[in-house]
Symmetry: D4
């Protein structure tokens, strides 16, 4: 039982995805061995970058071992340890389209919020982060109304009771992308409580992504806030 | 297999409960046959009422058949069709203790809210009802701050995302009794979504009762708002 | 226990919501009695409509009794029996913004899909419906690629395995709003199976609303496809 | 991607909460890095304490690393290793209001029970702890009836079958705050079994907080047992 | 597609089961059509009863239609409408072995409790029923201690919080068979709450059967209380 | 809002599926209105049947209304009321490939078992049905060993504890397709109990389909028992 | 916050339990710190053993640290590392009553099976262990019929599909105590699959204890097989 | 409490299983101690191999410790570290029957896919592996249609949304064995999301095995693709 060659029997890179969908592929590292991530990163590094419109390749949900491997493959990658995210090439594109605002209910939700923020930034949007504005102190979110109302789309990241998206959506006309987090304990059930609350948001205009899925939320926000096509 | 005599092998009335706990027993009608409810009601009616301090007997969660039976046993009962609740004798006691405010997120939550309101009233509290103040329009709940801040305890009844208790608890110093309702559909799962949200309320000072348990919430509120003993 | 007056202790209409959020309020009828719906409808009818920018009031999830009541209150309402939706005034606004495409996996998902379609149309978007294109016959969805790729946002409605949003999102650059339906049996668990599949969509760019929540999906799609503000 | 300054992009302290709600803010440490906790603790230490009525700041659910950080920031904090709780300043206020009794079913429930006890004490209540009185040996709880009946509110902490709150609530007239714990195994499901049992308590007068939420129970008990306002 | 002959392709009676296991077979009627139940009943009636030691055949969980069919097949069957149970021949055997006590927490649990009681009686045990002794009023169960302590086995039937088996098991040395019932609402989840509580009973000596499974509990109790073999 | 034309906006028939996959399409009727089923049936009837190799069209999970509609559209359809299945044209093809044996644990599982049996028969296999052989009486299944061991594939239909597939798979070398049914009550949870048991079958060689999915099991069995291609 | 004295505020030993219930108390070590277990063990060691009829004290679910502590407190304890159980004094009592047979489906279930076996032995029963007789190879269990049929009660320990109790109960007249184990993976869900299967056992005569609860099963078996009282 | 002898009280090898069922037994190592695995391996090694038709013994789900033990017992075993599988003797049999294709959605699903592949190969089938063909990029799976259509059976391994089996089954006439994996996070719930999706596959011809159960899928595929008997 010989070991397979690099990428043979492991992965098929979809380097044409940017051309097809307009956004580059990201590499989800969780569940991959450091060796698999290294092989993929080397293939990314060695590909003809001229074919890749749309920006940097993102490596998401990196463990410490993954970060270590990637910092060796890419000498100049951008690394965000809070978000467990690596981008290469390191520079995000110049922002176009509408502004994306990422709202974070509590400090413990910050890793997910930053993953969303960076993803949208690397997909070419102007982004702003608003932190620690949970509904237990309404004055905090009400003080940010001007920023919220200027957004083309708002990403709301919250754990525990997941009440913030309902409150935010009731205050603005922009769509809200809600991200439940696994922050909490007991009957939070690893994010089920805020997930269900968000799916049942009593204000219309809320859509939900997977628990802790900052990448997906940032990607979706970038799509929503994309520059209007001529037909719009 | 002869049928049992009335109450024999069916129920044991706990007419001394008011003396022991300070609050009279209630009869939970759901799951009982109309005949069983009739037998219990007749026993209540025929008991020596002089032994019963603390007010009327409540019959809760009555079906139409139960309401019909009870209106025959008691010629003068108070019947609330929205709350599916019957009280006999019909007059609530003169209120003592602190004020109880019942807050109801939406119109569909009204039956549960009224069950809580009436229960607390029949256990001797002054009660006030605030309706249709869901978090999707924050101005509605903020407009009621004076009423909320005057309460000794607040019962918050909400379905769907169950976000209202967190918001209310963050605005007041009184304890909040949260009642999830089965209002909603899909991922509301018959009240699981608001139940979990309330258990994970991000503001301290929130306790939760069973889904749709207006009676329990009203009872608890009456206990919390009971007149202060001399040792307090 | 006298019955409350109409709307007193029942509901607070939020007729200013269109001014505040840009979209009019909808009345969710499930869980309300026909009498409550009548009272609300009459209040809507009698309000000064000049204050209501943004279009018609929608009554959603109407039972047969609700439809009956509403057809009496409004002599000229638009009624869609498949979607269980009533709109008044009956004419949708002239469409602005980008095109919304609603994709429906199977015939049984049609009520939810039409609810989404009509909601987006009444909120002022140009809409198109694509039906019966489940992934078991890929040729059906592939044949619609031009329509899909012209959309500013795509609503995908599916029950059972909920696989269609992943496939659609992989083919286009527009954001996808996924609506799980309760269509299916056994381990579909009333929509849990497609809900989970959609939350775990392996293509980025998918957000999810509640099970059977056609209204929410249509509303969100209208917000996403809204005309670009000058800052975009 | 520069690291944010202390608290910038991490947290917003709500030092005015004591003025607004009457109770000081607590810092929930789980899910925060030791560096984040240090930054918050230093901000608490350096704030003008004259503005903070209502007592000490509590740091809850501290890991060993958190305890280490906090003992360095505060030279004189009170540290309870069983409850994983730190209080600063260390002295609880002089107790006012009614007595709080914390009842603990088993030895393994002790950390949660002590968290409740200390929270209520630091919020200004007189507290008493009753341990190891599970319902499998009824004589143990019956022997404590005088203490139970003197309480203004009783916190009952139990895992496994969660039967103790029903039994206690049936014996007293005070409200019961039930805390399910994650003590148990197998079909205890991390506290779901006692949580459900407590939500279905067959005695009225029981409200429930999140699994293992000693802090929330203590806070609520302090609110319930607060000195009666003049209007009561 | 011709209809199958009676019992052909429908059922295989196991008339020898009494000889093999010592207890006769019961016919679980739920999910069977009235015609199927009739065919089975006629086969039972026509079989050579001389081969059937151990007593009558029981038909359990009968709908009204089933009861109707069975009363026509057997002119002299014993029918218990509360327990939805039919026995034929109608006379239970003379009791042998130890006494079985069936304890029922509330009136609504009575159908399940009677199913257990009658099953054990028809399998040849002396049985006694104790009703309405929920833990919310401990004096009720404590008053029955002599009956409980005389039992060879105790069947405890309870819904809601399912706390009664723990309390009973802590008071006696006999084994306890706990039967959760679907009595309750909301977070009782059709019997899940008492089922979990009983599985986590904090007193040893409790075993659990399926929700509402009075038949199974009665059968098991009869086996446990069977006359001691010579080797015991 | 004009009603759509027949099939327009309702369904797209996939009449070429037999050519593409080798098996004809079936129409799943649950969730479709009688009018929708009628429109589809008429389209099936009017299509050029010469293009349809592989056998009859099946209509599955028919309600009484569906059966009524279909018996009007097709004067000569085969209708099985137990299986709620209609086939047209009525004659199954001459059987080819290996024998399919359908094993049914109890009488209540019969509708699902017959749906599997008829599906496989209409897809061209020789089928045999074995009923009422639950594991509580092992002699019943052991008596059928010759039939079981002659099968190319065995479909095992069982509810409750779902134990039969493990036992059967341990006795034969053929693959087993396990079908959990919703037969049972309480902790059977509508088929979850046997579903989980079958997924955890301790004998290898068991695959599982959805709860009550007789059609899927019969289809799969027909594929497994298909005549061997030349390359086999 | 001074540390509590040994046992003060930690535990109340119930040394009279043997006198009250006939069986000595066991110490459940999971969730207790090694220091707490040491304090309890020392109290047990130092108590007047003359008051303790019924046998040794058992320490169950011991971690390696617990085993270490206990081997220091008791120089002569009996330690079973597979069952994680310690008994002191080490000698089980002379067996009385009927024989207990413990049946174990697979090797991985052995720790739970041995916990049951040893518990019943230390409570004074004659016990026998039968291992590795899963239903995937029926010949293994059928070969043990004489042992099974001689038992007064059978404990069946199984994970995965939990099918063994149904099969065993169908073969004998003795009651079966079923113990689901957390052995398995994926959809075994930590023992939920066998738990549900056992609760739905299609043979009557099966009762279930908590997942992995060997102690509870052994205790119950000892009660069931206790010597018959004179009234039996 | 003496330790049992090797295999005594631990396991019963079923070396005749190959003769009885046609396939050799595998040893599931998870949950067994290294010592238990060693004892079993030595018994396998020392048995008379002449009695074992059908190929090598497989050891599945090996930890690093298990691999270490097995490499000592068998000097020449085949070890696959990705699949955590050991085979002895190391050579698979010459393939017979139809081709088995194993399709793997993503890189992280590879361990399960390889376990399926190797199992089918050691049971005597010709196998092919297709990797990284998730539905987010349909061109990848469409490019493999010739390989898929040549298969006698296809094993599809996927986590996250579990959409691949529906797509594959819709493209081919061979049966599909779907294997959900625990790859994913949040609402993937350890494999529940793909498990449910696969059970609800909208294309017929899909059967499901347990989460991560590569062995079971490979075994089943080998049975399905077995050489046709003369009766086929």
């Amino acid at each position: 039982m010989a070991e397979p060659d690099p990428l043979e029997g492991v992965a098929e890179l979809d380097l044409q995805r940017a051309a097809r969908r307009g956004y580059p592929e990201a590499v989800y590292c969780e569940g991959k061995t450091p060796d698999q991530v290294r092989a993929i990163a080397e293939a990314v590094r060695d590909a003809d970058q001229g074919e890749k419109p749309g920006g940097a390749t993102l490596f998401t949900r990196c463990s410490d071992d993954h970060l270590d491997v990637l910092s060796h493959v890419f000498s100049d990658a951008a690394i965000d340890e809070t978000a467990r995210l690596v981008a290469w090439p390191p520079a995000p594109p110049a922002p176009v389209g509408g502004p994306v605002v990422v709202v974070c209910a509590g400090t413990s939700d910050l890793p997910v919020a930053r993953e969303a923020l960076l993803t949208a930034a690397y997909l070419g949007r102007h982004c702003e982060l608003v932190v620690d504005v949970g509904v237990a102190g309404l004055h905090r979110i009400l003080a940010r109304l001007p920023v919220l109302r200027a957004a083309r789309v708002i990403v709301v990241v919250a754990g525990m009771d997941g009440a913030l998206p309902s409150v935010v959506a009731g205050l603005v006309s922009a769509p809200v992308v809600a991200v439940p987090t696994s922050v909490g304990y007991g009957a939070a059930f690893g994010g089920i409580a805020p997930l269900l609350a968000m799916l049942n948001a009593c204000a219309p205009g809320v859509a939900v992504v997977n628990i802790d899925n900052g990448y997906g939320a940032g990607h979706l926000a970038a799509q929503i806030a994309a520059p209007a096509a001529s037909s719009d």
